[in-house]
Symmetry: D2
Subunit: 303 residues, 4 copies
């Protein structure tokens, strides 16, 4: 069976699914998204793309943006970045402050909130958030080969108003000397990066640079692709990363907007979207879709 | 360059290395192992084997035994095992009791000590430790195709005498109803499984069943191979698992005796041994050897 | 109103109380105690005693025994004891292992389980549990002026069988070098000391040595009396110590058998007993009785 | 020997002391205080006052202000305050965020930073910080019978600039719904209350209302005096509260500026000041001075 047929099959199977998890409701802009939506899109190494469902509906990529800021930060700072953030799974919820206290204000990895705030702070480096956001959008648009990708300012403002836990993380790291810019400035950039909107089609294309073998623009070196994929595998789904590795067997990064970006190294970039989340805060149907796809395509990196 | 030449090159480069880490010294039997020893062995998918260094010197496999007990436990209990132990990285040291208290006596994964004790307890299931150990040795001997693999009784006795932290973990889980057998009995089996001795040659051959494509005996189903590899990737190096994934890019499991078993899915099983440990308790030169091998062979699962 | 009248009044008021908390049920011997029982007894500094309710029914003193072992340990080791156990409230449940891991195996104070096990271990010091228990019974009988005080061997055996959490604490401290005797031996003594049975009448008399001004035998120096009282105030009711200080304003020590020993320095020793416990594991009616007594007698140490 | 002679004796003994601890240095205004200064002042229940040393030099009362805001908050909200903050010792450092995460954003007691911020937030209640600070200064001036007590605006500004850890605590509690006002506003009031300056003479007089028997203005009811004293005993010296109770035996509250306010219920209010701090962040010589005084006067509440 070919890729298109497998996607159609997965779409059909998941359409019947009643339990779709819980839509994130901490800001009104996310809460009112229709939970019935679903999309799955795949770009193969040869550049061909296949999509099913609502693949042209923009959604808030939220934490998936952390993959792109990490790529930029590694390009700019290289291994110096690791002085400020670790590379280990956290063993705690995505927004936990516990670990930070135990480890002197150095977040465990770049994909939990605290770590992503540090990464954003590192590339902000005295510039205005506007400049950083301009560079980030350029990177993502280049990756996707599509200029129609924007920030939803209303979402960013809502997050700024309600993001007290992120303010707590930022001030805490600042107290430990692990934030260079004023918390307001770094978080201003952070909340806007999370408010980027993309369609599933766009997101799959933007993930091509992580396939690591033709098929997309070479935005980072092969060695760096491997490392970003390793970090996505180990830490990309918060405290559900082990579960994703066990079930899906691919590097991936989820966002609270219901999106998932996954990579089958050498083979494909995958984007899935469904707004309902499971207990770990990852898209419920999105995870299942990527799991079904990986199994039917034989794409697990584990054999 | 072929595999044998690459191995020879790695051997030569690492021979000059002066900083070889610290040999584990909590029991005399491990403390007196010569730190200058080093071995690396590879079995390719076609069954051919290449080794360098002290590949025929037996060493204590310690925590690497957890891979084999997990394979047996999954074969016997299937997914019921996961009611008693999780599949997430721990974010804590290998013998931490902190996480257990926070999560009601259910260890985070089968490769930290608490989780491995639960796995052993699950397959003990009312039998005598002797029977379990017989079955485990049979499994390992079948996997390696070699009957000359034994338990070092003196090591087992030493660990029993000094293993108070493991006794604490076992009693703690028993207090939470997550240990079926008396702690003495389960730990008796556990300390003996850790005291199994193998050579690097034997260990690489014993890892063939995880390659997942010919080359070795089919001891578990392909789906299970993928899952064991996923768990090794996520949790196989304690609180250094993220580091191993980042540097090496292969599933692997380390032991405090200085051994590492790693798998390049579809391609090879790898065993490395050098007694000196790094800060996370994993073999210092062993890790470097596997990292060099994976890079030069292009074996990273991440692209 | 005189002391006897106030006691009678309290007895009458509390008799009507329906919500009496939950009897400890982790061993059958405690679970089957009649929850309707209640006693309150006071020995004034002049030696006179007043009691109401079931003041002649023996009950299991459990953790109240820790006051007597602490007095013996301070007499034997003096300030050397504090190298092994702290003097701060724990901020955790009575049997928590969390704090131990964070602080290298040194319990926060002598009244949480871990700390009391260390105190028992310190006075065991190579002797047999039998000798320690003989000395402890002599101390308590002298304090109470009553030889009819015994250990309930069935309770001790039950605790030994079910005390896995205490075994975990003991092995954990042994792993940190903070237990001198084999865990089995120290816990053997510990479980037996907790299984001492006393009546409320006997317990109030046994507390006279803490009044610190005549009225009872001088078993420890005045300076030591002050310090034991300080420790009872700060740590005597586990994670409900702040609550007891706030409501009652007296040093006190509770046991899971429903007993409370409290001291009004310079004025009186108080014993209360009612088997039902509140959420913090302290006697519900016992706490209320001591609170009413302290308020009506004007005995709070806080003004 | 009378009170004045005992004070003179203590002053003489402590003058020779070389190890005076470490002056707080997180803001320049505190760092440049002369560490050689020392003062001790006592107001007896009869209203007479005795002082030695630098008793007329103003210092930053810092956390001692929490006693006064607590008194105001209890007067205004009564027991409703306890819905937002607990009454138990914390078992952690004064500015820990660990406990907050474990207990859903409800601080353990009103004297750790998080708890004091909640108390200030509760009495701010929609008003401007200016109004709250006016009320607080009136309360303290009434208590001391002295209008010459002011806020050091430079200290307040410094704390605002460097108080990232307190911002983290405030935002974290706001995220849990346990802060009613914007963090900036509540912390604005909090940093200013901590920047109040008093002399040792003034502070001892301001403590008279806690003696609970004549000698000073009756600012709160006797029952409330007892409760405030209980909280000071249990939680007044952060994670050194057990130590202070053990050594001194009196309720007390310390500040990072080196001040201590202690109460001998029914007998005296005591103020000590010396800028050098011990490991728990409490005045080193101040603690010793109050300990010597309590012992020589026989003032311990514990007998």
């Amino acid at each position: 069976m070919d890729t298109a047929a497998i996607l159609a099959e997965i779409h059909a199977e998941l359409s019947a699914r009643e339990d779709r998890g819980r839509v994130a409701d901490y800001i009104p802009e996310l809460a009112r998204v229709d939970p019935a939506q679903f999309a799955l899109s795949v770009v193969l190494a040869d550049g061909s793309q296949h999509s099913v469902g609502d693949a042209r509906v923009p959604f808030s990529i939220q934490s998936i943006s952390k993959v792109f800021t990490l790529a930029i930060a590694l390009g700019r700072l290289g291994d110096r970045l690791w002085a400020r953030v670790g590379r280990e799974p956290s063993g705690h919820a995505f927004n936990s402050i516990l670990q930070l206290e135990g480890e002197g204000g150095r977040p465990r990895n770049p994909f939990i909130n605290a770590g992503a705030i540090v990464v954003t702070d590192a590339i902000l480096a005295g510039h205005q958030p506007k400049e950083l956001l301009g560079e980030l959008l350029r990177f993502i648009r280049d990756a996707a080969g599509d200029d129609d990708i924007h920030i939803n300012a209303r979402v960013a403002r809502s997050e700024t108003r309600t993001g007290h836990r992120n303010f707590a993380l930022a001030h805490f790291m600042r107290a430990h000397g692990n934030l260079e810019n004023p918390p307001d400035l770094t978080l201003g950039a952070y909340f806007h990066q999370c408010a980027i909107e993309m369609t599933c089609d766009q997101l799959a294309r933007a993930g091509r640079f992580l396939i690591g073998a033709g098929g997309g623009p070479r935005l980072v070196s092969p060695g760096r692709v491997r490392r970003i994929n390793a970090l996505m595998m180990m830490c990309g789904h918060y405290d559900g990363s082990g579960e994703f590795a066990y079930r899906v067997g691919l590097p991936g990064k989820s966002g609270v907007g219901g999106g998932i970006l996954a990579v089958a190294p050498g083979r494909a970039a995958i984007a899935a979207w469904s707004p309902g989340l499971n207990a770990q805060g990852n898209s419920k149907l999105g995870t299942e879709a990527v799991e079904m796809l990986a199994r039917r395509m034989g794409w697990s990196v584990f054999g």
